[in-house]
């Protein structure tokens, strides 16, 4: 059992809310505080923009990751620690953060947008950066919904410890799946990776997995159903090569098959592709001028911390240009009137 202490109650907790900034018009409102949102906030604040961050969970998906080994500057860092570094960096610049607040939608005005929160409050802002990230996809097979929380799991670092000395199945073939296999192999008696096609995880991870002696890998083997009465007992699969069906037994199924963008609350307001990812131009501007987007939430195949952080920076710089542009537009207008 690890005994670290991952404190993330930043100062100000439980003190009476003194938030005059909520009354003022923001230059940039960042929705989301994962790598994309926090990086956008750092860039925006350093440009001198009045910046506000709103997020349900500061740190984002990085918190769900045991170790990150591909973020430059850190050969290996725990997700917890990296999230803390991001948070502290933004915190050191004095960026106000509305934590555990959920955005319910945005409505557009030409120069000022309104961001509505689920608690009913509203924030006005000249520009908005959406960095709401993504959440895990479901397999979509019979048994999955019924056995969720009864052996079907989506967070290896959360639920892994509950499968000590048991057999677990990991569904998926990307980095997240192979990482889950490696983590679970330390706890479970046996880990079985089952994937419908070929592995697409990084070579270095696959090699590490292949060295483990309690891991079994089944490729080209789509899962048809999750089996079990009260608890997961296994999965029914098809072997593509032979067309034969069989059952792989296990006490748990960890689903790690990729991610879906968190865009539901923007439906009807912003253009999305068929995967419900936000469509953006090369300045990361969405279909509404002044509304930018960054990170896992935008269209594109690669969802990574470093990419999200890079996007965040880009979106903040683009928002800065946008604001300078509308401000100089307003000044010109005023000059004409005078």
């Amino acid at each position: 059992m690890s005994l670290s202490f991952d404190l993330n109650l930043s100062g100000g907790l439980n003190r009476p809310p003194q938030k005059p900034y909520l009354e003022e018009i923001q230059d940039v409102t960042v929705i989301g505080a994962g790598p994309a949102g926090l990086s956008a906030a750092i860039y925006a604040k350093r440009k001198g923009l009045k910046t506000l961050v709103i997020a349900t969970r500061v740190g984002g998906q990085v918190l769900d990751t045991s170790a990150i080994e591909n973020y430059p500057g850190f050969s290996s860092i725990s997700g917890e620690e990296l999230a803390k570094q991001f948070r502290n960096h933004a915190g050191s610049l004095g960026i106000p953060m509305e934590q555990q607040k959920e955005v319910a939608g945005i409505t557009g005005g030409e120069s000022v947008k309104t961001v509505s929160l689920k608690d009913g409050s509203k924030i006005r802002s000249r520009s908005v950066i959406i960095a709401t990230g993504s959440h895990h996809k479901q397999l979509g097979v019979p048994g999955e919904g019924r056995l969720k929380g009864r052996g079907v799991a989506y967070c290896a670092i959360c639920d892994g410890p509950l499968f000590q000395d048991r057999t677990v199945i990991v569904a998926g073939g990307g980095n997240a799946a192979v990482e889950a296999v490696i983590d679970l192999s330390k706890i479970a008696q046996k880990v079985i990776l089952v994937h419908r096609s070929q592995l697409r995880a990084d070579d270095i991870l696959v090699k590490r997995m292949n060295q483990l002696n309690n891991v079994e890998v089944h490729l080209e083997t789509p899962i048809q159903e999750i089996l079990g009465d009260k608890m997961v007992e296994g999965v029914r699969v098809i072997q593509k090569a032979t067309g034969k069906e069989n059952v792989i037994k296990g006490d748990g199924v960890f689903v790690e098959i990729g991610y879906q963008s968190n865009t539901k609350v923007f439906e009807g307001f912003l253009d999305m592709n068929d995967k419900n990812e936000l469509i953006v131009d090369n300045q990361l501007q969405t279909s509404i001028p002044g509304v930018f987007a960054a990170g896992d939430v935008i269209e594109g195949p690669y969802k990574q911390v470093v990419i999200s952080a890079g996007d965040g920076a880009k979106a903040a710089l683009a928002a800065n240009d946008y604001i300078n542009h509308i401000q100089s537009g307003e000044e010109n207008k005023n000059a004409n009137i005078n």
Partner: protein, 217 residues
């Protein structure tokens, strides 16, 4: 044994400044087979260094049976949270609140000290209607980032209604208990050992499940 690093202590000093009244903690440990008993004792000793507003009472589950039965303590380590008048509000942490769970622990100290916010009026009204015993168990693991949110809500409900009690249970330490309740995802919330759900759900879901106990349909 020092458990908290100087860095964490410094942060805690700042956060716990917001505590209003004293909070008493009754820690139950036992000799022999008790994983994390020693660490939990060390952690609470460190906490006493950090703030004078936390007063810890050290008990032994076998020797102090009277106190244990008063607060219904059956597991070790277990931390019973009491207010400045040593009044019990039904709030317990079973297992060390380390990892992510330190957040719910600290938040609970602030709440019980009187520095918390009120429940939303609508929720308080629903909760006020509960007049029979309700026990909430929240199973967690220390690596689970969503778990503290669920523990905080359950404890808040206990604090806001004398009929409601709430206990965090660290699923790895108490795997017999977690096996009994088929815990395979955390946070898992079990109400009166009967109604259950998984995940850090909104307060309304907690209330709905509590109402099932209270007014079985």
């Amino acid at each position: 044994m020092q458990i908290l690093t100087e860095e964490v202590k410094t942060q805690l000093r700042e956060i716990l400044e917001a505590m209003k009244n004293e909070v008493h903690l009754a820690l139950f440990t036992k000799n022999g087979d008790c994983p994390t008993c020693e660490e939990t004792t060390g952690m609470l000793k460190d906490l006493e260094d950090v703030t004078s507003k936390v007063v810890v009472h050290y008990y032994d589950l076998e020797k102090n049976q009277q106190e244990a039965s008063e607060w219904d303590v059956k597991l070790t380590p277990s931390i019973v949270v009491l207010d400045n008048n040593k009044m019990y509000h039904g709030i317990k942490f079973n297992g060390i609140p380390a990892g992510h769970e330190i957040n719910s622990f600290i938040k609970t100290l602030l709440e019980v000290s009187g520095a918390g916010a009120e429940l939303p009026p609508e929720a308080q009204k629903r909760l006020d209607a509960v007049s029979t015993p309700v026990n909430i168990k929240v199973f967690v693991t220390l690596g689970c980032p969503h778990c503290p949110g669920a523990v905080e809500k359950a404890h808040k409900l206990a604090l806001s209604n004398p009929h409601v009690s709430s206990e965090m249970i660290e699923a790895q330490t108490f795997h017999d208990v977690s096996n009994k309740f088929n815990v395979s995802s955390v946070p898992k919330i079990v109400i009166n050992d009967e109604y259950e759900f998984v995940g850090d759900q909104p307060l309304e879901v907690f209330l709905e499940e509590i109402e099932k106990v209270h007014m079985p349909s």
